[in-house]
């Protein structure tokens, strides 16, 4: 039954209201990134403020306090971001670690997502199409790896990583996140592959293609929607993961989540820099999701097989 006009109206208000409530913290973080430190802690909170890039400049730089004379010397010919630092009575000592940590997040997040998709698609295809001995038990076993919070096994993993020399390495973190995400990806992808009629592959086999060619020429394009949405879930987990990152990384392979809170201690409570760090951190996942969105929404198998 088509809902009445009034029902729709009430529903819309509820949805918009809820959306606003959930998006406020996000808007708050984004706004704080553009505030000056004093505006950031002002009470009552400032909704209208003079935007500044101070937070972003502080995020990407290491600074030291300088004397009046030094400042006077360097102020000539200073770039816009140097000027912002000089206004705080400081000079730029060098780039901050944020860039490296951010790149670590990109390498580990996308690396583990890619590995997870390759292994997950292969496993899901096998479970979906072949007579695997003990199939149901294996699938349950795979699912059971998610029946406790991953952090419950943090200590054994820490010890294992130490003896394998995987502590604080990109490879270690990629393997860890892949292991955690694999159960989700196998189950989700198996569902998507089950939906693809087996006749497509059989048609390809009859048309003279090998099983593997049938898989990547016929099944993969059909599974694109499922692979894209599963990849988004995997990336979001790996990207946001905090606990393992704190425990297992400290330098070379440290990701952004454990790094962002440390910004606060560099020179007093620099909330705008923290907020700027969080905002920049949001961008890759958003871009990735937006890029894959058309795959999420497009029903590419529509109408080719009659059920």
């Amino acid at each position: 039954m088509e809902p009445s006009g009034r029902t729709k109206w009430v529903a819309s208000i509820l949805v918009v209201g809820y959306a606003l409530i959930t998006i406020i913290p996000l808007l708050w973080i984004i706004a704080t990134g553009f505030k000056s430190p004093s505006d950031a802690i002002a009470y009552p909170p400032k909704v209208v403020f003079d935007p500044t890039l101070e937070g972003y400049v502080n995020l990407f730089t290491e600074r030291t306090r300088a004397t009046e004379e030094t400042l006077a010397q360097v102020s000539e010919g200073a770039t816009w971001y140097e000027a912002i630092v000089h206004d705080q009575g400081m000079v730029i000592a060098g780039p901050s670690r944020y860039g490296e940590r951010f790149m670590n997040s990109v390498i580990i997040g996308f690396g583990s997502t890619a590995l997870c998709m390759i292994l997950g698609t292969a496993a899901a295809y096998a479970f979906s199409r072949f007579r695997v001995p003990l199939k149901d038990d294996l699938l349950f076993f795979i699912l059971s790896t998610r029946m406790m919070p991953p952090i419950a096994v943090a200590i054994p993993i820490f010890l294992m990583f130490r003896s394998l020399g995987l502590n604080d390495t990109h490879l270690g973190m990629i393997l860890l996140y892949t292991a955690v995400n694999l159960s989700l990806s196998v189950w989700l992808l198996k569902g998507f592959i089950d939906e693809i009629p087996i006749e497509y592959e059989e048609a390809a086999l009859i048309d003279g293609y090998t099983r593997f060619q049938a898989f990547y020429k016929v099944v993969l394009p059909q599974a694109a929607t499922g692979i894209a949405s599963t990849a988004i879930f995997c990336l979001i987990f790996a990207w946001n993961e905090y606990a393992f990152a704190v425990l297992l990384t400290s330098g070379t392979a440290q990701t952004a989540p454990p790094f962002i809170p440390t910004i606060i201690g560099v020179s007093g409570k620099d909330w705008p820099a923290v907020a700027a760090g969080a905002t920049v951190f949001l961008v890759p996942v958003m871009v990735f999701t937006i890029l894959l969105r058309k795959h999420l929404l497009r029903g590419i198998t529509f109408g080719a097989v009659r059920k």
Partner: protein, 365 residues
């Protein structure tokens, strides 16, 4: 173009036997029907011929070559699926050219072949369309196009009309048969529709529960069923069965039903116990002077003919008579059976008893 020979082919899925040791031969250029109810093993048999399932035991010969354990891609055959299975991420032209590309044919040459095939099927104007929006009939034609473009040794079709609307099926079945006649290729066609099988097939194999019940040309199978299952599965309404207890012997040409002696074709073997007197509805005439009596319980008007349901001492019977003949419900009347068309069955095994009338069919089929 090829002869296909199935020898003692058997297929088990775990503890379940889908096809019991089956043998038959499909001659070059035949339009061959695999007929049976769902779950009878006909699709499994077809899939084994195509290489989509491997037989548990037995041999399959295509064009003289044993291919039983070869993968589908090496058998040079084409398969039309009930669900068409057109590749949804390709347009019509690409779908048809796909098997050619796998053979390493150049794009230009493939394009030429596709256009040629499209002309035969009357789908030249939709070659650049995505397959998603096509009507059922056009999808069927594209699926056929993909099958014929490669000029394979044989075509295998798994209920290709099953997904089409009723009104369209008739048209497509004619089109299919015409296409077959034009190409002259061996075609194996699976269906559960006995009318479709009789209409289109040069030869029919009837299967039930994994067993080949009978094999032959449609008219022979219709007239001289080898088993009660075939007699009942083919024909609408099916063959009438009058159950009786008695004894028959080699050379006898009469049986006694409810005290009335009825003529049958001269028997070539004997048996005793529960027997079945089988007669097709159109071979019964209503004649009040006939000694074997039955009471009319219903009539069904079908235009040129009518179906009259009767109760007889040996069970219910349906007779097909001309619609202008008078048949009143409740009336007691006599039934006259055309003796030349009767088949006697052993009720326990369901097997037809050999007679002078059916020996030619049953001993060579």
């Amino acid at each position: 173009m090829a002869q296909i020979r199935i020898e003692n082919v058997r297929k088990e899925f775990g503890a379940f036997t889908a096809v019991e040791s089956s043998s038959f031969t499909i001659e070059d250029g035949e339009f061959f029907m695999l007929l049976g109810p769902s779950g009878c093993g006909k699709t499994t048999t077809l899939r084994m011929m195509a290489g989509l399932e491997l037989p548990t035991s037995g041999e399959i010969y295509i064009d003289g070559e044993e291919v039983g354990q070869k993968p589908a891609s090496q058998r040079d055959i084409a398969f039309v699926f009930q669900m068409f299975a057109l590749y949804p991420h390709m347009n019509v032209g690409k779908n048809i050219s796909y098997p050619l590309i796998s053979q390493g044919m150049s794009r230009a040459e493939a394009r030429k072949k596709v256009v040629e095939v499209a002309r035969i099927l009357g789908i030249e104007n939709i070659l650049n369309r995505p397959v998603g929006g096509l009507s059922g009939g056009d999808r069927q034609r594209v699926a056929l196009g993909r099958a014929i473009v490669r000029e394979p040794k044989a075509f295998f079709m798994d209920e290709p009309l099953g997904a089409l609307d009723a009104e369209f099926r008739e048209h497509m079945s004619e089109e299919l048969r015409a296409l077959h006649d034009r190409m002259g290729s061996t075609t194996v066609y699976v269906t559960h529709d006995q009318l479709e099988a009789m209409q289109m097939g040069d030869k029919i194999v009837v299967m039930d529960q994994g067993v080949v019940e009978q094999f032959g040309v449609p008219q022979q199978i219709y007239d001289w069923p080898a088993t009660k299952f075939v007699a009942q599965f083919i024909g609408s309404p099916p063959m009438n069965f009058l159950e009786f207890h008695g004894m028959v012997g080699n050379g006898m040409d009469k049986v006694t039903l409810d005290g009335t002696e009825l003529e049958v074709p001269k028997l070539l073997e004997g048996t005793q116990g529960e027997l079945t007197f089988g007669i097709r509805p159109e071979h019964i005439r209503l004649d009040s002077t006939a000694p074997y009596k039955g009471r009319i319980v219903a009539t069904e008007y079908l235009g040129t003919t009518q179906i009259v349901s009767l109760d007889t001492p040996n069970g219910p019977v349906k007779a097909r008579i001309e619609s202008h003949e008078r048949a009143r419900v409740g009336e007691l009347t006599g039934l006259k059976f055309d003796a030349r068309t009767v088949t006697l069955f052993d009720a326990a095994s369901g097997r037809a008893l050999l007679s002078e009338a059916n020996q030619g069919v049953l001993q060579h089929g």
